[in-house]
Subunit: 305 residues, 4 copies
């Protein structure tokens, strides 16, 4: 039995006003739509939530608003993402104060660290809080890959309860699934890759954290339920449809990273009437003109508009 | 209908004598065992075949022996892997002379090239031979990733008939599957990743080219047939078993690349009595002592020994 | 005439008590020794200052202490290093409040950004403060390289006054020197690489920011003065001596990044009696045992002990 | 005393006819111009010589022609660049047959190798020939960096006599210079970076192998002589001029690697009347139109045209 959260846990985008402040009415519409779709948790302040772009004051505002809007309907887990241990511990304190149910931390970054420091980092976080801790494997951002044996070891020690895998390394994820199973499943394993959730479930994932679930939460819930029921034919159809919908993230021309990916999620949600604006945080620009039209075309082709 | 080869196409290891010459009796045993297991083709001179380590004389000797031993039972496809176009074209001539049924080429490497050169490279190869050409996506070796739209375009032009994907990028492979389907499936899509063949099949792969199939060909044939029949429960069990068997490649201590991976395949095959030695090409050393024992332990745990 | 700071500007290590708090008496000894040696400025909260490891409260404490201890003897420049623009702007406010003379910012990191966002980031920082802004080119930490033409453009716009180059790319630094000279030298160019300051001066650097200057400030001051006087024979002798002294950073076994580099600087300073401890920030461990002995051996060979 | 070649050793571009065959009259003019300028050796079949693009027959043709044209005026060293040991040894045999004075080999590439294999590779090459062997450190092409301690060790063993450093890592080169000096200078150290030869000489380089010396050999000869005489003021002026001339390699729009760099050298030489064409090997296209005009503009600004 996994100790951590299973199912679909969308990494919430953070709705912004044109001035870059939190847009609470949009947040309310967004969360209500996710809860209606039957999601199993909400991940606030993840990469899709633009956590890297927000000063601490804004992070606190987001956590307060999300916990208020979710109001206990499902667990809220909070990204406590920062460069090194002491900074992360500050965010853990803030997350505890906001009343979330779990926290998510990456490996240290910016300053280069080796295996000893990465292990010490997660141990220090796990030791500093009673909240469950998830390790977030995100080499594209932090430029180190979390080693599967270390993750399972941290799980057995009780320092972490699960892993959000956004490593882009399905071979490595398979290995993690096997090691975890052999160790008695101390870890709950969640995948963050929107277009290959099906393969992750086959490998043994307990759930998914797909950014695209902001746009189509019901699809990911159906996919999850079919996978848990062993109905792989349905999984396949649903995944194929969602993979095509993920084309919105490839629609923007000349943009990379969250300016393209999160930018397209926000633009889709604005086109769907969920968000009031598609505003992105500095130094990113919001999608405009042909990029918005390209997102709209993908939504129309997918029948969402 | 795919124009290319589907099913299980093991990338043949090349048995060597202790002096590093081709060991034909071992090759005969190896191929007979693969054919008995029901494989759909044989890929000679791939990365698992140590192609990079062989001078042209040795490459010719391998192709001659493989085509003679296979004797038309299944198609033989040959790696024509070299740094840049003119060198590859020489290998294409040699492969034609050896009587193979198709060739496999990577992107250019060593000298840095951009998208224009990569496209020109595959176009030149496709134009120079009547043999079907497969593009081999192998960024870990050539340090560029083949772009999905370019691959489909080359397929529509008739320059390539398929892709062997060893990119380690399941998200990219999913996109390739979708673009290919939308274009009328000009490409046959094969995956080279031993431990995630199941996910690749879900995504739309037509077959697999797993190095581990040298060791357990029957398992990959069962996995393929179950996937084609939509029997995902069987796929899952078989894949899980094979993934654990792939632990032989992680058994060697302090080795990387083919010295570990191919080295473990050869060692397993020697322990199984198929190969006479586990000799590796210069500058690699063969597995010895504790590394051999570790491979043996994985085979025993998996019930192969 | 460069608008920015020239000469030797050590990136100050941050002395810590065994509990990880700021050690002010050690800081006073360290700064006094640098000023005695004739340095031209002090760079607080750089990578050598463990900026990535400190929560905001600790950053503020360091800036307050450094400005108090330096007391106007030379300019103090402050690292305002964080993931994205809004977070950096918070640190700029704090640096202004602490009364420093300039700030140093890297490209955005963690969340992937492209050229448009990087330019927008520096423009936003330059527009938000009257303090001179230095761009810190540090791809090993932020995983993007600052483009020379963009830097010169930002200099001509008045958004930045200089560059601290720790790019490890001497070819790129040469190009930056040429473009800057052609544009009328809007930028002051400083190198951060301890062992190749001589080549950077030949190329046109205006000064240096070497972490090793914490340990041997007088050597870097002599090197700078000789370079400015065109006395390359002296430059060469001094650089060779300092390069060998940099062997302290290679002395620790099995450590990477600041745990090795800054760890060796702090250990050397402790052995020299300047710092009370060689304590490093979480999740790093301080050098011990054989590693300390190895640092001592290099210092003794160099005649510093 | 270095055992290897010192001074200026241009890595010869290979003149081609429009059909891609060796253009011997152009080769004669090119070599004559280099010898007139006073170069100390000729490096045939290096990266600038498009070695990666030539099949073995063409490599042999180039070596035969170069040795015939040079006719003993200076030593000829030959690139024996290929993926792995056995293939390199074949090229060593061919180079011996062509009568060259030394060979240059990179680390193994394509198939991933670790430190043990890299060391075994160079040892095998050094043991297989009486010709002096140079190690070519070229991570941008082979994706591994040669470790300084290993290079010095190979030098002390007599397996290699020198290093051509094109690592783009001036800090690493400085360390190599120091280790080599400490070991009694078993290695001759040559730099391949056109724009930072001055810094390499300050660090202890014995000579240079700059591709741009195809275009301006006299400049590099003057730079070398000034460096050997300790006349750093002259070094600086000459290096600055040559660095600007290297702008030809940045002139082509949208090209990367040798298509840009070697393409610009060949175009410059064609504009100077030395080569008959600027033809590049498949799959590269030759520079045309605006790119040729951009190269011409740099030559005119530098007074070469």
């Amino acid at each position: 039995m996994p100790r951590g959260l299973t199912g679909v846990v969308p990494p919430l985008v953070t709705p912004l006003t044109p001035e870059g402040e939190l847009d609470v009415p949009s947040l309310e519409r967004l969360v209500a739509r996710l809860l209606d779709a039957g999601v199993d948790g909400i991940f606030a302040l993840g990469s899709s939530g633009e956590v890297a772009f927000f000063e601490d004051r804004m992070r606190a505002k987001v956590l307060d608003a999300v916990t208020a809007v979710v109001a206990g309907a499902v667990p809220v887990i909070a990204g406590v993402i920062d460069m090194q241990t002491r900074r992360v511990l500050e965010h853990v304190r803030a997350a505890e104060a906001a009343g979330v149910q779990a926290v998510v931390a990456t490996a240290p970054f910016y300053a280069i660290t080796g295996p000893d420091e990465i292990r010490a980092h997660f141990r220090a976080i796990g030791a500093a809080t009673d909240l469950p801790v998830y390790a977030y494997d995100l080499p594209i951002c932090v430029h180190t890959k979390l080693a599967a044996p270390m993750l399972v070891e941290l799980g057995l020690e009780g320092r972490i309860v699960g892993v959000k895998d956004s490593s882009g390394d399905d071979v490595g994820f398979r290995w993690l699934c096997e090691l975890n199973a052999d160790a008695g499943s101390p870890l709950t394993l969640l995948t963050g890759h929107e277009t290959v959730v099906d393969g992750a479930y086959l490998a043994g994932a307990d759930g998914s954290v797909p950014g695209l679930a902001n746009v189509d939460p019901a699809g990911y819930v159906r996919l999850h339920r079919a996978a848990m029921a062993g109905d792989w034919a349905t999984v396949r159809v649903e995944q194929s449809r969602l993979s095509r919908l993920m084309g919105i993230a490839r629609a923007p021309i000349g943009k990379v990273g969250p300016a393209a990916g999160v930018g397209s999620f926000k633009t889709a949600l604005a086109l769907l009437g969920v968000l009031s604006t598609n505003t992105m945080s500095l130094p990113m620009a919001s999608l405009e003109g042909a990029d918005v039209a390209a997102v709209r075309a993908v939504l129309e082709e997918g029948g969402l508009l």
